[in-house]
Symmetry: none
Subunit: 219 residues, 2 copies
DNA sequence: GGTTGCTTTTAAGGTTGTTTTAAATTGAAT
DNA sequence: ATTCAATTTAAAACAACCTTAAAAGCAACC
């Protein structure tokens, strides 16, 4: 099992990590909220243990952003004893469990096991770029539906953010080998995609590189 | 939401039940371990709240028997403060959460919501989605009977709420490998399912994603 | 064994959304 | 200014999907 532990009290963190390692639980440690969020957004962990009181970004804020981006990694919140409001906020916001500080590491381990023993949440294949979330299983971009061809093109763009894709590559990948009006297919669909991006009010856009192709950029 | 509450302290139970009702949580109450076990073995509940200290049969024993019989209804254990051993035993035994007594009902409600919001556990006998309750053992959807194929398809849809299932996946799962009119089988049965959903006046519906498949959504 | 009632398969026609086509418009580069 | 690439649009063509109903299959029952 691999977890992320976001905790600013260094000595506490070291002690807990040491005990978790004994139980064969691999731990990545983040010392503040920003670092924590960065790591939490990657789908690398079986669970995340989040302290609430943190420098830069609170645990509740991290959790909120995670759930907004549909990151479904199970989360255990930590906070000082008896702050019932925090507990409730955390649980309402999509935390999976709660543990009062100070806690016994044995209990944390038991709770981690209980969480991870669950069947894994169906992880939709999702590609992210800045404020965009492209869900491949549903073929939706931040919720709006894309058609087959739109999705085919957009997948290529979002997979190589910042670097260009040529029309020929797009044709080959999305259409196979065709004839005649070919290049215009791509142009038409790029136009459709731009329209959808605009309707999403995304700051990402598709940039044309004349005589070369297109790339996804963030303004 | 419908829960079972196993608790021998009558006045505490009445107070808690009263507050839960206000939150539209339906509660069945069992006053001792035997009665609790009987009810717990029925797949009627979204969650079970289990006191540990009980007459006749302890909460831990009930939990153990439930899990042995593969009843996967989520369980929240209750026990007097600081009995860390009990907590750990409970969680190891497959409890999904733990709450120390005395507790605030607000926290119990938050934890129930957190638990029930989860995707349904693997082989639960009843799968829920919004206003739909699909009972696998007698193959009824909110009471109306589904045929073999209907149920096979609907099970796939309700197990991945919000994310799409392809026709190929459906064919493979429900029919095995066949020939010729294959895809139309799925279309025909999707049509039947839609008719039944409509007759139930459910706000859930099956959405087509062209060239991809189907998903269950809530309007 | 044949009748009844149900589920499943087959088939065909209608509907809808996506893709293609084509032509007019805009914009960049020399 | 001229040219060629890129954009946009709308209509036509197409393919996917929906629906329905009849035929076939299957099991339970007398």
């Amino acid at each position: 099992m691999r977890i992320l532990y976001v905790e600013d009290e260094k000595y506490l963190a070291e002690a807990v990590i040491h005990l978790l390692k004994k139980e064969k639980i691999a731990v990545d440690w983040a010392a503040d909220g920003e670092e924590g969020l960065d790591l939490a957004l990657k789908p690398n962990y079986d669970a995340i243990v989040l302290d609430i009181m943190l420098p830069k970004l609170s645990g509740l804020e991290i959790l909120k952003i995670m759930r907004e981006r549909c990151i479904k990694t199970p989360v255990i919140m930590l906070s000082a004893l008896n702050e019932v409001e925090d507990k409730i906020n955390g649980l309402e916001m999509g935390a999976d469990d709660y543990l009062a500080k100070p806690f016994k590491t044995a209990e944390l381990i038991a709770r981690l096991n209980a969480l991870v023993r669950r069947p894994p949440l169906m992880d939709a294949k999702v590609l992210n770029f800045e404020d965009l979330k492209f869900d491949l299983t549903n073929r939706t971009l931040n919720g709006v539906e894309l058609t087959d061809k739109e999705a085919g093109i957009f997948e290529m763009l979002i997979k190589t953010p910042g670097s260009a894709v040529t029309k020929e590559q797009i044709l080959a990948h999305v259409w196979g080998n065709e004839s005649e009006f070919e290049e215009n297919y791509v142009e038409v669909y790029i136009s459709y995609l731009r329209k959808k991006l605009k309707s999403l009010k995304s700051r990402a856009e598709i940039k044309t590189i004349r005589n070369l192709g297109y790339k996804l950029v963030y303004v």
